[in-house]
């Protein structure tokens, strides 16, 4: 599932960022900002006109992404499928639990 298709308020986890062409600076920047495998994401709000852009909560930060940018991020609703080795075991309890490192 793409981040742009994720319903508002639903907890999900990042699978990865797809590049639209070989040198996709937007995809690279998304990775730098924390859109990497296993990180929890959630859409907090959508723009008032045409539901664009999206307000995305990833890790501890909120980013406004246009739908075309969010479409690069693939997500899953199943935490275990993509959880990284270092992620806390209780990560699926709450998307906001991302901040918790036991």
């Amino acid at each position: 599932m793409r981040l742009s298709q994720l319903p508002k308020g639903t907890a999900a986890w990042v699978v990865g960022v797809e590049t639209v062409d070989a040198a996709d600076p937007i995809a690279r920047r998304l990775r730098d900002l924390g859109f990497v495998r296993g990180e929890p994401v959630r859409i907090l709000a959508t723009g008032p006109f045409g539901g664009d852009p999206l307000l995305v909560h990833v890790v501890d930060t909120r980013f406004a992404l246009r739908r075309s940018e969010a479409a690069r991020v693939t997500v899953t609703l199943d935490a275990l499928a993509s959880a990284p080795a270092a992620a806390p075991a209780d990560a699926k309890v709450d998307a906001f639990a991302a901040g918790v490192v036991p």
């Binding site: 600076p25 920047r29 990180e39 907090l44 664009d52 930060t61 909120r62 980013f63 992404l65 990284p84």
Partner: protein
């Protein structure tokens, strides 16, 4: 002891500039990096040991994988390969202690440079309040670099940093980088560091989320934004007016006093009509600039500005702009000069240039005297339903301005060379109370930039316009107004050939020449051409004269001309300064002239056919 050169680096919203302000106070210098329009901020302070410390505040960057010219400069200076910029002796990497997940990744990137560095954990007070426990010693050990705590918004909040900088340079941390490391290796490293050195509180619903539920609500959020915008608009428009009137009156009085004390002659004329009028013409912009930037700085510091951009991005993006274009464009309704200066908050160069190029289309307040004169003289003061016809025409002129902003931006979007996707990717930082010192320093900087870089050009142009309108003087047996004999008068007559097809008479053409200095000057210039004395009475009288002498199509044509009004040299001067390119000035002046001519031509011809 030689001076120590340090550079502050860090991700956007880490409080780096507040820390810079705390370290250097008012001992700052703002300029541009050579060849680009990215701001270069440098300051200095004297350490307790007496050592002189030079501080460079580098633009915020999320990564050395630069996505904007700002970030490229930060990367190049840190790598020591920016021409004309010596490699700093020490990098102070600033990270927001409440946003370590995001900021530590960049810290790790900086550490890989293999240069002496110190990590400043900023906003430690907020971190403690939220219950984030950071073991700085362990973090320092794991990173292999000194870690100090700072609170940039508190007096004395940088003492630990100052003390550490006064000690000897820290040793360079050894980092081995695996060439085959996976893309998210740095993220994994951050996770491991945090697991080791930081204890986060159990997640709670933050106050920010509650505020955002209202501030970003599709209905209420837009309503809040409308109120904020209305306040800014009101403030820039009406709060500034008394101050501007005061400045104008002050300079007029100075001019009169000088005119009364000095003997008549070219020197007196130069001082009164050239220099004093010119300095007054520069300073008159200052109230609007200060009020506008006070609002922008408070909105930016509080974290609301990116939220406004979030709300409006879709609308602006459709037209080929970005959410961040909105506030600069709104300010351009007061005057395009502060508006164009405000585009500095747009990092993307393409979006910034597009905003700068359309800003002169907004109906700035200097056009109002011209509109008022023409509407008063030609549009009958009668009711149309619930409305007044004069009011409707004024509204239509404003609406025409908005439509042209959108249309021109849209056309530029279709035809520009760079059709690539430019990201929004905007961080919405935590809400913060604006710090008075940071706002004051920011305001002082804006005012200084305007006076130093734009003021000189405006003053020069005013003096040049004075010269054109004064020389050569009228012969002793002159019967016509003096301006007729001057270069400006001759230029006006020569221009008549160009403007005749759009219905302008030669009086208008002459008025257009001094009107280059500022749009509203055209009104007083017209009064001069019609040999009227100055003052408020002249405007009323002028209205009566032109109502008799001009045809309606000519008046409508001039109104249409002023919607685009390409002839504001101050605007062109600020475009030159802010884009560092004469080419952009030529593009702006060229397309505005073409549109103005076309609109006037159509208006004149259609009006002629109908009347």
């Amino acid at each position: 002891m030689t001076a120590l050169r340090i550079a502050l680096v860090g991700s956007p919203n880490c409080g780096k500039t507040a820390l810079f302000n705390l370290l250097t106070g008012s001992r700052q210098k703002v300029a541009n990096y050579a060849g680009v329009t990215v701001e270069r901020k440098e300051g200095h302070y004297t350490a307790p040991s007496g050592r002189h410390v030079q501080v460079l505040d580098l633009p915020g960057a999320y990564s050395f994988d630069a996505a904007s010219p700002d970030e490229a400069i930060t990367r190049d200076v840190c790598h020591g390969r920016f021409a004309g910029e010596a490699r700093p002796d020490l990098l102070v990497c600033v990270a927001d202690a409440t946003n370590l997940r995001l900021h530590l990744r960049f810290v790790l990137e900086v550490r890989r440079l293999g240069q002496p560095m110190v990590l400043a954990l900023n906003m430690m007070d907020s971190a403690r309040r939220r219950g984030i426990a950071i073991d700085t010693q362990k973090l320092s050990q794991r990173l292999g670099i000194p870690v100090v705590e700072t609170i940039a918004v508190r007096r004395g909040g940088a003492e630990a940093l100052v003390a550490r900088l006064d000690a000897e340079l820290p040793a360079v941390a050894r980092v081995t980088v695996d060439v085959n490391e996976p893309e998210d290796a740095l993220h994994a490293e951050v996770r491991a560091l945090l697991a080791d050195a930081v204890v986060f509180p159990p997640p709670t619903h933050s106050l920010d989320d509650s505020i955002d539920r209202w501030a970003l609500h599709p209905v209420w959020g837009v309503a809040v934004l409308a109120v904020v915008m209305f306040l800014i608009f009101q403030a820039v428009f009406s709060w500034a007016a008394p101050m501007q009137d005061g400045i104008e009156a002050g300079f007029a009085a100075t001019g009169e006093w000088l005119a009364a004390t000095m003997a008549d002659g070219p020197l007196r004329s130069l001082l009164v009509d050239g220099v004093i009028a010119g300095v007054g013409g520069v300073l008159v912009f200052l109230p609007q600039i200060l009020i506008l930037f006070a609002f922008i700085l408070v909105l930016e510091e509080s974290g609301y500005l990116p939220r406004a951009a979030f709300l409006l991005d879709r609308m602006m993006f459709k037209a080929g702009l970005t959410g961040r274009s909105f506030i600069p464009l709104l300010s351009s309704y007061a005057c395009a000069i502060p508006g164009i200066m405000a585009t500095r908050s747009i990092q993307d160069p393409r979006d910034r240039l597009a905003t700068i190029l359309v800003a002169p289309l907004t109906t700035c307040s200097a056009r109002l005297p011209v509109y008022a004169l023409l509407i008063g003289a030609f549009i009958p003061d009668r009711a149309v339903g619930w409305f007044n016809l004069q009011g409707i025409v004024l509204f239509a002129l404003y609406a025409f301005g908005i439509v042209s902003v959108m249309a021109v931006a849209f056309v530029m979007k279709r035809f520009r060379r760079d059709q690539g996707e430019h990201a929004l990717l905007l961080e919405l930082p935590a809400y913060r109370l604006p710090n008075a010192r940071d706002v004051a320093i920011g305001l002082y900087e804006r005012a200084a930039i305007f006076l130093r870089r734009v003021g000189g050009i405006i003053l020069t142009l005013t003096v040049l316009m004075w010269f054109l309108s004064t020389f050569p003087g009228p012969p002793p047996d002159a019967t016509l107004p003096a301006i007729e004999y001057s270069l400006a008068g001759r230029l006006g007559h020569a221009l008549h050939v160009i403007f005749e097809p759009i219905g302008f008479n030669w009086q208008i053409c002459i008025a257009l020449v001094p009107g280059l200095a500022a749009r509203e000057v055209a009104v007083s210039a017209l009064a001069t051409v019609y040999a009227l004395s100055g003052g408020d009475a002249a405007a009323t009288e002028l209205g009566q004269i032109i109502a008799l002498q001009w045809s309606l199509p000519t008046a409508l044509s001039l109104l249409a001309w002023y919607v685009f009004a390409p002839q504001c040299l101050s605007t062109l001067a600020v475009i030159r300064r802010e884009t560092n390119s004469w080419r952009n000035v030529a593009i702006a002046a060229g397309y505005l002239f073409a549109l103005a001519y076309l609109a006037s031509f159509l208006t004149y011809r259609i009006a002629l056919a109908l009347t």
